[in-house]
């Protein structure tokens, strides 16, 4: 019988790593999907997934249950990915390219996308980073422009412009 999520969270907050592992097992696929779509790079997505769970472990004490644990975790994940990208840009150690569309060649798991979904995944992965992030956060994850602006440190108008650009590029890529 699966454990009660509230009990798992409470035990993990007390330092129980087995409980935290159960939380990882329950959310790893969702967190990894988010990281993969935001970075369009399989290796980076794995790194960011690890970063997100390590950060979640450190911050578990601040989780008060005011929102769902999943919402708290996914928002923390988005923050980790965006903070890391900003740090990379500042260090100029990594050239941010249009990503690695092959990263989404064969997504595993129960939710294997259909043909058109796979086309869309590939097209999203090939978007410029700024447009991709806004598209993923708005159209896939359902964040509002105001939230995206706060998370990505851009103006609301810029968030909208990036979204419209992303949609235009995707329609062109998908020959629509």
């Amino acid at each position: 019988m699966p454990s009660d999520p509230t009990d798992l969270i409470h035990r993990a907050q007390q330092g129980d790593r087995t409980a935290f592992e159960a939380l990882y097992r329950a959310h790893a696929g969702r967190v990894y999907a988010l990281c993969l779509r935001l970075t369009a790079d399989r290796a980076l997505a794995e790194e960011r997934t690890q970063d997100a769970f390590v950060r979640a472990w450190e911050r578990l004490g601040s989780f008060r249950g005011e929102s769902a644990f999943s919402s708290w975790l996914y928002r923390l994940t988005v923050n980790e990915v965006l903070l890391a990208r900003r740090a990379e840009r500042r260090r100029e150690q990594r050239v941010v390219t249009s990503g690695d569309p092959a990263a989404l060649e064969r997504p595993r798991g129960a939710d294997t996308p259909s043909g058109s979904a796979l086309d869309l995944e590939r097209a999203v992965a090939a978007l410029p980073a700024g447009a991709r992030e806004v598209f993923v956060l708005h159209d896939v994850e359902g964040y509002r422009h105001e939230e995206i602006a706060e998370l990505t440190d851009i103006a609301v108008g810029t968030s909208k412009a990036q979204l419209f650009r992303a949609r235009r590029l995707l329609r062109e890529a998908l020959n629509r």
């Binding site: 990882y24 790893a28 690890q50 997504p107 798991g109 949609r167």
Partner: protein
């Protein structure tokens, strides 16, 4: 679609965020423009597909072992940090005790005017700097009202220290002034130690 202005309007129309006064003109345009009607249909299809993407993708390898290792390493570092914090706090007490000893009246054979006062100041500055660094590093663990209280009290103590230092500069041999400085210095170290302990709890 014609131009970025219309592109933005059609996107906002699809998202349901188009300002109410703009809706009639956009709807009138759509009634006449087949290209824009197609664009709206494509945008709607794209948004629906994006919402329908699988929420979960399993990583190609199990990441738990790496995560657990990093968590364990951080736990070790935290223990080391607590050890250092305890050691520094203990060192701070020792420094203050030694400082007070040096501030004994000038009849004490160990006291050397000028040199003793400079050494006391240096010890105090180093200790408060070390403790200040710890508190600054752990600042985010403290509640905002605690930080405000801490800063208010530190400001009061710093004023007392600055005043006793200025008075001692004018009258270096005054036992009373050395006592005043020592009391204020002890209060500052105690306050910083309290903040460091609170942040660690």
């Amino acid at each position: 679609m014609t131009g970025p202005h219309m592109e933005a309007k059609l996107n906002e129309y699809v998202d349901g965020t188009l300002a109410a006064p703009d809706r009639p003109s956009v709807e009138a345009h759509l009634a006449e423009c087949a290209a824009c009607r197609d664009a709206v249909a494509e945008l709607r299809r794209l948004v629906a597909e994006a919402r329908g993407l699988p929420p979960s993708i399993e990583p190609s390898r199990d990441l738990w072992a790496a995560i657990e290792t990093r968590i364990a390493q951080r736990a070790t570092r935290n223990v080391q940090r607590l050890w250092w914090r305890g050691t520094l706090a203990a060192a701070a007490v020792l420094v203050i005790v030694l400082g007070l000893y040096r501030l004994l009246p000038s009849s004490t054979t160990l006291y050397r005017p000028g040199q003793g006062w400079a050494a006391v100041q240096a010890d105090f500055d180093r200790t408060t700097s070390d403790l200040g660094l710890i508190v600054a590093a752990e600042r985010e663990r403290l509640r905002p009202e605690t930080i405000a209280l801490l800063e208010r009290n530190l400001a009061i103590i710093d004023t007392a220290i600055a005043e006793s230092r200025a008075a001692l500069a004018r009258d270096p041999a005054s036992v009373e002034l050395r006592g005043l400085f020592a009391a204020a210095a002890r209060q500052k170290v105690e306050l910083l130690r309290w903040a460091a302990r609170l942040a660690a709890s």
